[in-house]
Amino acid sequence: MTIQSLDISPVGRVEGDLDVRVDIEHGRVVNAWTHAELFRGFEVILRGKDPQAGLIVTPRICGICGGSHLTCASWALDTAWETEVPRNAILARNLGQIVETIQSIPRYFYGLFAIDLTNRKYRNSRFYEEAVKRFAAFTGKSYELGITISAKPVEIYALLGGQWPHSSYMVPGGVMCAPTLTDITRAWAILEYFRTNWLEPVWLGCSLERYEQIQTYDDFRDWLDEDRNHRDSDLGFYWRMGLDIGLDRYGAGVGKYVTWGYLAHEDKYQKPTIEGRNAAMIMKSGVYDSFADTHVLMDQSFTRENTTHSWYDEGTADIHPSDRTTKPTAINTKDFDNAYSWSSAVLHKDFGRLETGPLARQLVAGGKHGESWQHYDGFILDVFKEMGGASIHVRQLARVHELVKLYRQAEHCLREFKLNDPWYIKPTEKDGRGWGATEAARGSLSHWVEVEGGKIKNYQVIAPGTWNIGPRDGEGIRGPIEEALIGTPIYDSSDPVEVGHVARSFDSCLVCTVHAHDAKTGEELARFRTA
């Protein structure tokens, strides 16, 4: 049988424009390439600018995870300037990030992912008719509610920062806001509205408390059997249909996972340092190697980037992100043996290529490493093991599983605010190196900043998309999405919805895959400037 190559441009419904080439043999994908096709050069734009420019510019890297970028940008300057961040401010930053992610989950699930369950490929499934009723674009009952209600959580962001997306309310030394009782009461009411109008009745079909009892895959199956409302909730329905149409049977990926950890502890990270970060996060960092079944902590110094297969003229060595002398190739022809993407390949110096995102976070959450007080949750790790590893379906469950946990963390922030205590401690600006990291909804995000002579000397961003969408590395090893596509069955090559399922299960965000140039290249580029 011959190999058929399929170029899909664009895949659509991932943030940004993802292009994919797949080779198909006997109806299955045998090889794959992912391309990021947009270059804006934010990092070169930041060079030479005000040290705080990152607070304005980096949320605009991505309108979907802007709050996460802002979090990174502020913590990066906090570590560079050796600030003190008041307790209220840590809680206010966490709350902003949490509500952004809570917004993202239904928006992603209904808007980007579940629509594909209404694809005519599934017309013979016994779930199909109901799927159309719920998930059809714009008119589906759950689609409409889910998309509309996803606007609610970010109203809380607006109470803190004035608007979502694109506020810059987090600054080194704290936050700009000082919420009043009205703001906090409103925020509670918005959370409650979200819970009582969608999260409990539509999504879970049960109370948060009942859902929280689920600790293992067996518990989850018992929960499904226990009550009609559980089975028929959007979560229960999705789970049953996904199994029926085989979403648990492909999309595995690289089998190793990374998370930076997130949500700084309000008492343990008031004097932030790069080294002290791991021990101060509520959700712990880590790498999970599913082949060895081991958990270890993640550290920024383990990160490497490789541009062998990217459109940069920077040699073939693995280097630390902050050492990059990023030089874009002027002519970005697609060459599958050489360069074919603006994304770089990101790796761990010991573990190589890693998947990032909610699945990674939940697999790490099941590790016994880290601090004793840090958050532990073994549910998804158990599902992963019981089901024999990753798949589209497990990745999906991991993503939505975070909803309830984040909801609880949001409540915690609101409870812990002390409205008359400080929200900001004015820092002294100084030169230095900083690093800020967090978990955006779709994975590990980090900023490296170097301030010299009162301006930005170098600013580097590694986004979730860079980890997941990256092309082959220096050893020719496929990136996480490329790898996850291997083995994907293609039913109709004129409508390869399965490729969409796999790519979208990562909720990949291409607008984030930004890269910079060194100062020299920046000057060269200036020659091309229009007008």
Binding site: L6, D7, I8, P10, G12, R13, E15, G16, D17, D19, L38, F39, R40, V44, I45, K49, D50, P51, A53, R60, G63, I64, G66, G111, F138, Y143, E144, A151, V154, Y157, A158, L159, L160, G162, Q163, W164, P165, H166, S167, V171, G173, M176, C177, A178, T180, A330, N332, Y424, K426, K455, S494, D495, G500, V511, H517, G522, L525, A526, F528, R529
Partner: protein, 320 residues
């Protein structure tokens, strides 16, 4: 039915996210109640790959009438004017855009990148980005100064980083319901209904502004952000404090200085060292004053205002 095609160039999806926050009408209402037919959208559209390319070609050939082309993100021209650094559906995005602009009845530029070039076009503009009909304040842009769409209008500019969802939905509905002729535009092709007043209109810190009571540092409920923290509210055309963000607030209400994101100069001073969240002053007087106010009058006003200021003007009156 009004066919809408929404594309993104050098974009962050921020305007799309903002648009999805719309309420009264919601995005779904637009489709169900206002006759908007969303042909395709990068985050919401159904077609992928060749099927989308066919749809785009059908728009260009007129097989599918294109009523409104919404563009989000900058027009990327790099490298060397080819646009290859932003390929979409197997082609430079700017080539699709050039073809679609010829057939669209109306073109709506949503957000700063599509209107003026935005952050990507900030110095040194590595992606050679520009807006559809402007590069910053300079007329022309990708489509040229004299461009008009099939309906005879220049590109309708809805700036903002991002644009407010109500600004977007109201313009789409105005077009779909045949009301667009009622709307007046300013010299930057912004609908006046949203951009005639200043950000300051409706700001809860107005009384502090009047009495020259300043917020000296962040995290304060009191004071005005103009005197020390670089608020551009008095100089920025926007309705952010009239048509609240996410229905609940605005930057200045929350304590964040307005960045002036609806004006082509955003980000101001190109974020040079010393300009971020700091008011630029000459001998203690802000370099830029509200339009129509001269330095002499301002000095006089300051004296009077300070003298007349009641004690509470310096206090936190939104106290807990």
């Amino acid at each position: 039915m009004t066919n809408v095609l929404w594309l993104q160039g050098g974009a962050c999806s921020g305007n799309t996210m903002s648009f999805l926050n719309a309420e009264e009408p919601t995005v779904c209402d637009l489709i169900a109640d206002f006759g908007i037919n969303l042909l395709w959208h990068p985050s919401l559209g159904l077609e992928l790959g060749n099927n989308l390319q066919t749809l785009l070609r059908d728009c260009i050939s007129g097989t599918i009438p294109l009523d409104i082309l919404v563009f989000e993100g900058s027009v990327v021209n790099a490298p060397n004017g080819t646009g290859e650094w932003n390929r979409f559906a197997d082609r430079a995005m700017k080539d699709w855009l050039a073809d679609l602009a010829k057939v669209a009845k109306f073109i709506v530029a949503v957000g700063d990148c599509a209107t003026w070039g935005g952050i990507p076009a900030m110095s040194p503009n590595p992606s050679e980005s520009e807006g559809l009909q402007f590069l910053k304040r300079q007329e022309g842009g990708f489509l040229g100064k004299d461009f008009v769409s099939q309906a005879g209008l220049p590109v309708i500019n809805i700036p903002g980083c991002p644009a407010h969802p109500d600004w977007i939905t109201q313009i789409l509905v105005a077009i779909a319901t045949g009301r667009i002729a009622d709307i007046a535009f300013d010299e930057l092709n912004r609908p006046q209904t949203f951009f005639n007043t200043y950000t300051q209109t409706g700001c809860t810190r107005n009384v502090h502004f009047a009495y020259k009571a300043s917020t000296a540092e962040f995290g304060q409920r009191k004071g005005c952000l103009f005197y020390d923290l670089g608020c551009r509210g008095p100089m920025t055309h926007s309705s952010c404090n009239r048509i609240l963000w996410n229905r609940v607030s605005s930057k200045t209400r929350a304590g964040m200085p307005c960045l002036g994101c609806t004006e082509p100069e955003f980000p101001f001073f190109d974020l040079k060292p010393g300009t971020v969240f700091k008011t630029q002053t000459v001998m203690g007087v802000p370099k830029e004053l509200p339009p129509g106010v001269n330095k002499k009058d301002y000095a006089l006003l300051t004296m009077v205002a300070k003298d007349a200021a009641p004690p509470w003007a310096e206090e936190d009156f939104f106290t807990v």
